[in-house]
Symmetry: C2
Subunit: 335 residues, 2 copies
Amino acid sequence: MQQGKQSIRFERTPRILEAASVVGEKEGQGPLAAEFDEIENDPMFGTENWEAAESALQKRAAERVLEKAGVVRTQVRYLFAGDLLGQLIATSFGTVDLEIPVLGLYGACSTMGEAMGLAASFIDSENADYTLALASSHFASAEKQFRFPLEYGNQRPYSATWTVTGCGAVVLGKQGGIAKITGMTPGKIVDMGYKDSMNMGAAMAPAAADTILRNFQDFERRPEDYDQVITGDLGTIGTEIMINFLRNKGYDIAGRHMDCGIAIFDADRQDTHAGGSGCGCSAVTFCAHILPKIRAGQWKRVLFVPTGALLSSTSFNEGNSIPGIAHGVVVEAVK
Amino acid sequence: MQQGKQSIRFERTPRILEAASVVGEKEGQGPLAAEFDEIENDPMFGTENWEAAESALQKRAAERVLEKAGVVRTQVRYLFAGDLLGQLIATSFGTVDLEIPVLGLYGACSTMGEAMGLAASFIDSENADYTLALASSHFASAEKQFRFPLEYGNQRPYSATWTVTGCGAVVLGKQGGIAKITGMTPGKIVDMGYKDSMNMGAAMAPAAADTILRNFQDFERRPEDYDQVITGDLGTIGTEIMINFLRNKGYDIAGRHMDCGIAIFDADRQDTHAGGSGCGCSAVTFCAHILPKIRAGQWKRVLFVPTGALLSSTSFNEGNSIPGIAHGVVVEAVK
C-alpha cells in the first residue's frame, strides 16, 4: 500500500495467462481485423434480440479465453464483469452458465479497467488462484439503450463515437502467463459540467487526464517510463483535450499515446466519426492488439486507462451533465 | 485463501468503524424508526426529480458516516458503491462531490454485500487504510425504473415487495471500530427459470440458499455457529422457500434467521405485502438494526446475505427469467 495515494502496487504481480476477443462484423472489417480471435458476422449472434446477442458475445469470449488458457471454469474463483446495459443484463444472462461467483461492475466504458484491476487485486492478495475479467458492448443494444431506434436512422455529428460490438476477456493467475499486472489506479468521478452526449470524448477527457496524472505521481513516473499510455475511447476530440490537459501539468504523452477508439476503426473508410466506444472497445483492443505487443516484448510497460462517460438516458433527459471516470491498470512484459 | 472454495477468510479482520442510515418517511414510520440516523419526510430530498433525490440520499449517508467515524473524505482510499438505477446514476451523481476513487458495483439488491466484501478485502490486503461502502434505493426511482408510473396506482399482489427509500453506509478501517468483517462469500448467479417480477423473493431464494450453503461448507460451520443468518429482501414468501431448501440440505436456520425486508416494515399496518426490498433495504437495516446488536455483544457472529434479483424492464419485457444472486459477509463482535 502507498499511504495517501490513489494507486496500488501489486507486489506479487498477478499474471495475465491468456486473453480472448470476440467482435462483430464492422470491427472485423477494421484495422485490427487480423488480430481478433473471433469475428461474428451475424449481429444477433444467433439469438432473438440485441441484449441476448450481447450475452452470447460474453459467453463466447469467456469460453474462448478459458480454452486458450487451459483453465476450466471450476478453477476460476471469481468473475469480475460488466456491460453498459441497465441492470447489467448482458452480464447476468451471459455469464450465468459459467457458474463462477460474479462481482458485477459498472464503470461505463471504463469497466474493463475496473474488472482487470479488481481481478488482479484478488490474485495479489492470494484470495484467488485464478480470476476472470471481462467487459462487453454491442452497437445495437447500446443504441437502443442510450440513443435512437436504428430504424430512425439519426444523423451522427462528427464528434460522436460508434459503439463497438465486442467482448474482451482475460484470465489471471499467479505465475507464468503472457504479461503481468503490476499496479492499478482506480479513478475518481470528474464532472466538468459537460452535457453533449454526442461528444463523450470531451466529457471523459478530464477524468482520463486525472487518472493518468495520479498514476504518474503515485508511482513517481514520467511519460517515458511507459512505452504507451493507452486510453479507452476518448476518440479524436477527447484525445486532444486530454493531451493538452496533461501538457499543462508538465507531462507530454503525445509521442507515446494511443486511444483504443481511434485504433479499432478506420474512421474515414468506416464512417465511425470520432472513433469507437463502449466497454468492448478498450477490452477487445487490449486483448487483440495491445497484449500481443507486450507478450512479444515490443512494449515493456504500458498504462491502460479505459474511460467511461457516466450517463443514462434518464439523467441526460433530465438535463444532467455527463461525469467521466477512468480506471488505470499498469501492464508489463513478463521478462 | 481457501483452495477450491467460494469464500475468503479475512486474516487481518477489517473493522467497521461506523455506520450510518438515512431513510424516507415510510421507513421512519416502521418498526426500526428509532434506530435510523436520519429520517427525511420530503421524498424529493429537496431536489427536482426522483433520481436526484436518491443521489441526495447517498450523499447525506456518506457525509453522516464519515462524520460519525471521525474520518475525513481525503483519508478514504476507495469507495465501493451502487444502486438499482440504469448506469448507476444515483451513485455517479451522489458521490461525485466526495472526490474519492470509486468502484461502481451492480448486484441488484445484493449490492451492499458486494460493496462491504470488496471494501473489506482492500483493508485485509493492506491496500487501503480506510474504505467506504454504501448502497441505496428509492421507492419512486425504482417504481419509475422497473414498474409503473406512480400516478397509475397499480394494484400490487401480496407477493410483491416495497422498495425501501434509504441508503446505508459503512466506513472500514484496520483497527478499533464497532465490529469486524471476518469473511466473505461472493455469490453465483442462480437462474431457476422463475419469471414473476411481482414475486422476486421466490426468484432470489435459490441464490440466497446457495450462498448460505457455500458459506457453511467453506468455513465448516453449522447454523448454530451464527447468532443470526440475515437475508436481504426475500420477504415472507422467499424466506419460506430458502429455509425449506436449506432444510433439505441438512441445515435448519429457522430459529436464527431474520430477513431485512420483513424487519423493516410492519406489513399489515404499512401495506407493504411481502416485505421491503431494494439495495437500501438490507443496507439500512444492517447499519441501523443489526450492527448495534453486534456492537453491544448481543450477537457475536452473523452471516449477512443481501439478495438480488437480476432483471431489467427490458429483459422482463423480452420474456426472460429473473436470475438471483446473493453475496454473503461474515460480521463478528470485536470483543
